[in-house]
Amino acid sequence: MKGREELMMSLMRANLVETVKKQYLYKLKANIDALSSLVTIQLLAIFFSFGGVGSSGMGSENISINVKYYSADIVIIFTMIWAFVTAITITTRSNRNHDFTFITNRLSSSLSNILFIITTVMIGSMTAILAGNLLRTLSYLQGDYQFYSMNIGLPEFMFSMFVTFLYVFLVSSIGYFVGTLVQVSKIFVILIPVLFFGMLFLESSLQRESFLANVFQFYFMESVLSLFIFKVIATATVFFTASISILNRMEVRR
């Protein structure tokens, strides 16, 4: 009789890996629409980039030179925004409640969320860089401009995709943290934008170096790859760990 009870208990104590896997697959299926919004937002970014992402020129008495630049910069920025919003969305109550259809705990829910985010970020980064190739072809087909291209082969493509992945992953970790804070208290819906924009205005009015500019420099001006990888992974780990511990403290089905 005792042995039978132990067997029942061990069956109920679901394996964490199995639960995470099940939840992850479920989330991939349930949140597939996030990917159609990715397609929409990237198409919009391609449309905005169609005229070039920048231009410069010079002129003199006999000559005028106009240079247009094409790259997937806008597509990547839009993908970052999409990743931020998607990461917030996945923390919403309706999404969390779906987890209770499985034998679950907060940890397995968070881990499956992170796996889902990593998957979508990978797809987003890959399509963003591929969209850059599409922009190159479109700019070439425009015809009235002499077309020149930087050498962009498979190694550059893979490298570009990897670094873009890190950036989008970083942004989604921030989004996940923001989403978690909002789940703790709705006051963060107002507090976070107020803090963000308030800081921008305050620092510009005080005419001192902006905190956000420093943050920007910390990541975007880093020219050593290993250091950049370390910074991104460390930051994302901090945000995800903070989110997991906040969610762990929350009541069940709050």
């Binding site: 397609v39 008495e61 087909l141």
Partner: protein
């Protein structure tokens, strides 16, 4: 080899995606519209990657272009030309040279076909070989150390009777589109998003004339004697 990989790899991925979606059909009845949107979008992007390089086969790779040092701009060679120091000037600046027989001419009139002021350097030879040698020097068009000089139209010289006409090209509108690496790559390569330097200047016309030939300027042309 890398080109072959970039062509074949996207097609292989498309096949895998298609097989994946077909499996979704078998396992979960019908795939959602989102699956097809995503499949179509990724397929278009991959096909473009595979065949885009064939479409843009006459594109010019910036890295294959000649990178030139921009230290010696035309303003630097002008003083040397004024002293007739031909040997000290990089041959890359000489874009055209022409020789005209002037055995029937006592006076050469130099004129320009447009209204822009033009200075012509004139070197008188020590001998009388009845030939006018014309040289055109140009700093070309250097954009961020890349030589785009092939896009420039050059001065054309013609001698009719005793009139040497310099025909500068009409107003040139040069339009260039440059496909750049994305900012996550530029961050590590140190490439700039925008062009930092343009170098271009009006060409200089340099004439070597026989010792006894008289030379006159017409209209907007200013003659300057080379003092060796």
């Amino acid at each position: 080899m890398i080109n072959l990989i970039t062509t074949i790899l996207p097609i292989v991925i498309i096949i895998f995606l298609f097989v994946g979606i077909s499996k979704v059909r078998i396992k979960f009845a019908t795939p959602k519209v989102t699956h097809w949107i995503l499949f179509t979008y990724i397929s278009v992007l991959l096909l473009n990657t595979a065949f885009g390089s064939f479409i843009t086969n006459d594109k010019v790779s910036l890295k294959e272009m000649e990178k030139v040092a921009t230290d010696g701009e035309l303003s630097d060679i002008y003083p040397q030309l004024r002293k007739g120091e031909f040997d000290k000037i990089d041959k890359g600046y000489l874009i055209n040279e022409k020789s005209f027989g002037v055995d029937q001419i006592k006076t050469l009139k130099v004129k320009s076909s447009n209204d822009n002021d033009l200075t012509v350097l004139v070197e008188r030879k020590t001998s009388d070989d009845n030939k006018v040698e014309a040289f055109i020097f140009s700093s070309g068009l250097i954009i961020d150390d890349y030589d785009f000089s092939q896009l420039l139209k050059h001065y054309h010289l013609e001698l009719k009777g005793q009139i040497l006409t310099i025909n500068p090209p009409k107003q040139q509108d040069i339009k260039i589109s440059i496909a750049q690496n994305e900012f996550p790559v530029r961050q590590f390569t140190g490439d700039s998003m925008f062009i930092n330097s343009f170098t271009s200047g009006d060409p200089v016309v340099y004439l070597r004339i026989p010792s006894d030939l008289k030379v006159m300027a017409d209209g907007h042309v200013f003659l300057e004697s080379v003092k060796k």
